[in-house]
């Protein structure tokens, strides 16, 4: 519409923008999909707002106004398993969870190890409710044998490479992957679990696996994998990002490496920050089967500590949809993974902010500015001129996780029935409201 002054104006909310470093009451003016200005509500500003069409005003009184959340670790299942999730449904789930950008992993069918598949995903993501950044495969078909054409992948827009779900067991291959990725200044995102030590493991190896008689995946499998890759990272000078850190020793290893100046970053998932393996024996809930497995309370506490002290840079959901048919079976026969996009914010608020581990500003930083920095993504800020990707949060709103409310095509969450505090109020993508409560 010619002459339209703004797309939207958000009034009355409290701004939390870790990238800008302030947290105060301000109005956000959006124009042409960008943040035009953020100003304190002085009399002149209030007067200007009064003169605008009421339909443009988003009243955010008592709400937090934060940069659109960014999740750098999700599985969108398309192409290949559109019964579990599509790019479109995954983006709707992202919007409902307050995420305006996600990075999708390459373990689709076919794998995202070539330009055509990257292009396919990018095309499917157009006009969806979130921005989708593609992570390409380190090795062809994720087999850990030969490097994929990483230059090609980067050229068409891959933001990082990963063999997520698998661990390139051969250190020579991993070394070459790191070295090669260094040319493009992208990190290798690593699912760090030694495949020999984890072979057949269906849960954490602990007294719980001993009690239940299940094959365990030991913590040392992650520790060894992390230590090896830190050594390779140090040696090559490349960038390494450790996905879903789940053990005390892995946190310690990353902390030490960072002190030494190794270029390593790390993420933690809400489930590793909240759950312990004692949950599994209660009902053999297959939605608790995940790789790496949920661990002991000591591990969980160490992951929280790592997140708090900055050893772990960001929070990522590892959103992993699986159909009800695939999960409705014996525990050890179920595929690993749980959905997370729509519960991350509520879990982090309830279990980390409310318990005093993180301030709201810290929590938001770990879901906005930090993930953006790791993968050099646009967004993660409300700076004037940035894309108007904004999440409005009802900070103390109580809600219950319900299976029939998920926007994801899959319902495989162990948090169904949980009562959480802190809910997404509205999600704005490029100046367009893509989700509202």
């Amino acid at each position: 519409m010619a002459g339209k002054k703004y797309d939207l104006v958000i009034t009355g909310g409290r701004i939390i923008d870790p990238a800008l470093g302030f947290g105060k009451d301000a109005y956000v003016f959006i124009k042409d999909g960008l943040i035009k200005k953020i100003v304190t509500p002085a009399a002149a500003v209030q007067k200007e707002v009064k003169s605008l069409d009421k339909a443009l005003i988003v009243d955010a009184t008592d709400k937090l106004v934060v940069p659109g959340l960014i999740d750098i670790h999700v599985h969108l299942r398309e192409p290949g398993r559109e019964d579990a999730e599509t790019i479109e449904s995954g983006c709707r789930a992202a919007a409902a969870g307050g995420f305006t950008a996600v990075c999708c992993m390459p373990n689709t069918t076919p794998r995202i190890d070539n330009q055509e598949t990257v292009k396919f995903v990018q095309d499917r993501a157009k006009d969806c409710d979130a921005r989708v950044y593609v992570v390409g495969a380190v090795t062809k078909n994720l087999e850990g044998k030969e490097l994929s054409e990483i230059g090609d992948l980067v050229k068409i827009g891959a933001v990082a490479i990963s063999d997520d779900g698998k661990y390139p067991q051969n250190p020579e291959i991993m070394r070459r992957g790191l070295e090669y990725a260094k040319m493009f200044n992208i990190p290798v995102m690593q699912h760090a679990e030694d495949q020999y030590l984890c072979a057949g493991g269906v849960m954490n190896e602990s007294f719980q696996s001993s009690r239940l008689g299940m094959k365990g995946a030991p913590a040392v499998a992650e520790e060894i994998a992390v230590l090896r890759d830190i050594a390779l990272c140090r040696f090559t000078g490349a960038r390494l990002h450790i996905q879903h850190v789940s053990t005390r020793q892995a946190v310690a290893a990353i902390r030490e490496a960072k002190k030494d100046g190794v270029r390593v970053t790390a993420e933690a998932t809400p489930h590793h920050l909240v759950l312990t393996d004692e949950e599994i024996g209660k009902e053999f809930n297959t939605n608790l089967r995940v790789n790496p497995p949920i661990r002991t309370a000591a591990d969980r506490d160490a992951v929280i500590e790592g997140l708090v002290d900055g050893t772990i840079d960001c929070i990522a959901s590892d959103h992993a949809p699986h159909s009800e048919e695939d999960k409705d079976c014996e525990f050890d026969l179920a595929p690993a993974g749980m959905i997370g996009l729509e519960t991350t914010l509520g879990l982090i608020k309830t279990y980390l902010v409310d318990k005093g581990y993180l301030s709201w500003a810290d929590a938001i930083r770990k879901m906005t500015a930090n993930p953006a920095r790791i993968l050099n993504l646009p967004g993660g800020t409300l700076a004037e001129g940035s894309p108007a990707d904004i999440t409005l949060i009802d900070p103390d709103k109580k809600w219950t996780v319900k299976a029939d409310k998920f926007r994801s095509k899959s319902k495989n969450s162990p948090f169904i029935g949980w009562k959480l505090s802190g809910q997404v109020y509205k999600t704005i993508l490029g100046g367009r409201i893509v989700f509202e409560q």
């Binding site: 001993s210 008689g213 053999f284 048919e325 014996e330 050890d332």
Partner: protein
């Protein structure tokens, strides 16, 4: 106390002492039935029991089947080789189809830990666990306990040593929970590679030296050692296992005077136990088999007809 606190028997962990005592006492009555010329009672007439075996089993299946027949129940057997499982039907669909044929009770053996629990979510029948993965095998432990109880008149204060592959043994797990509940003192012994992570948290004395384990014990329950464990590198050779952990006559000298030798079968004679020991006067291995039937009759009887709403 004349009824169990649950309508299923999924394991012995967290089963109260009163329940175990009730099963043992009831077993005693059925043990007497087995010794009669006419070994059949009308107790479960009209009840249909499904023996659902997803893993090969000879003695447990036969034992359950005979127990069911002696109680006058109608029985159906289902094993993987004759089922639709090979065609890819899910466990839920399989049991719901069978339940549609009006099954009252299901005896299940499955290689997945927790599968019997899963069945309680799929169907209304009473579920009896006949072995799930390396998790539990409650009727085996109950028959072991009954056999000990029958000989000594009590379980509390006895020292019971469980020898073998502690890591992969569901029989050992169920024995640990049951015996501890009844006040016995339990010792575990096996090669350290076959002890599960944090094994000490089971609350038993743990040994890797068999002579130390046997010292002053009343009962030795010897577990079958599976060849495949050696093949997967968990111990170097059968020969070395026999040398380090095999129960032979020499080692029996360490036990208390009125000692008892047990084995849940099938035995690898000359590997985990010598024939001399297995066939000695202190061995109750065959009596275990007989008692197994009586225990299963007791469990079937106590659970039969128990509906959801009666859950306490």
């Amino acid at each position: 106390m004349s009824r169990l606190s649950s309508r299923h028997l999924l394991g012995l962990e967290n089963v109260p002492k009163e329940d175990v005592s009730l099963i043992l006492k009831t077993t005693n009555s059925f043990r007497e039935v087995i010794d009669r010329t006419i070994k059949k009672v009308p107790t479960l007439r009209g009840i249909t029991v499904l023996n659902l075996f997803y893993e090969p089993s000879t003695r447990t299946r036969i034992s359950f089947e005979l127990a069911e027949k002696r109680l006058s129940a109608d029985t159906v057997n289902f094993t993987t080789s004759t089922s639709s499982v090979k065609k890819g039907e899910s466990l839920r669909d399989t049991v719901q189809n069978i339940e549609a044929m009006k099954i009252d009770m299901v005896v299940v053996r499955h290689s997945s830990s927790g599968a019997p629990y899963y069945l309680t979510r799929c169907m209304d029948a009473n579920i009896i666990n006949a072995g799930d993965g390396a998790h539990e095998h409650p009727t085996q432990a109950l028959l072991d306990m009954y056999t000990i109880w029958r000989k000594y008149g009590h379980l509390d204060g006895l020292r019971v040593v469980l020898v073998g592959d502690v890591k992969h043994s569901r029989v050992i797990r169920s024995n640990i929970w049951g015996l501890k509940t009844m006040g016995a003192s339990v010792a575990l012994c096996g090669p350290s590679t076959l002890l599960p992570y944090e094994v000490e948290r089971f609350g038993c004395d743990v040994y890797t030296n068999i002579d130390e384990a046997l010292d002053g014990a009343d009962v030795v329950n010897v577990m079958r050692i599976q060849l495949e464990r050696q093949q997967s590198g968990l111990f170097p050779s059968q020969r070395e296992y026999t040398n380090l952990f095999g129960i032979n006559k020499q080692r029996l000298k360490l036990l208390n005077k009125n000692f008892t030798i047990m084995h849940p079968g099938p035995m690898n004679r000359g590997v985990e136990i010598t024939s001399e020991v297995a066939d000695s006067g202190h061995s109750v291995i065959l009596e275990q088999v007989t008692n197994g039937q009586a225990v299963r009759m007791a469990v079937l009887y106590l659970l039969s007809g128990r509906k959801e709403e009666e859950e306490e």
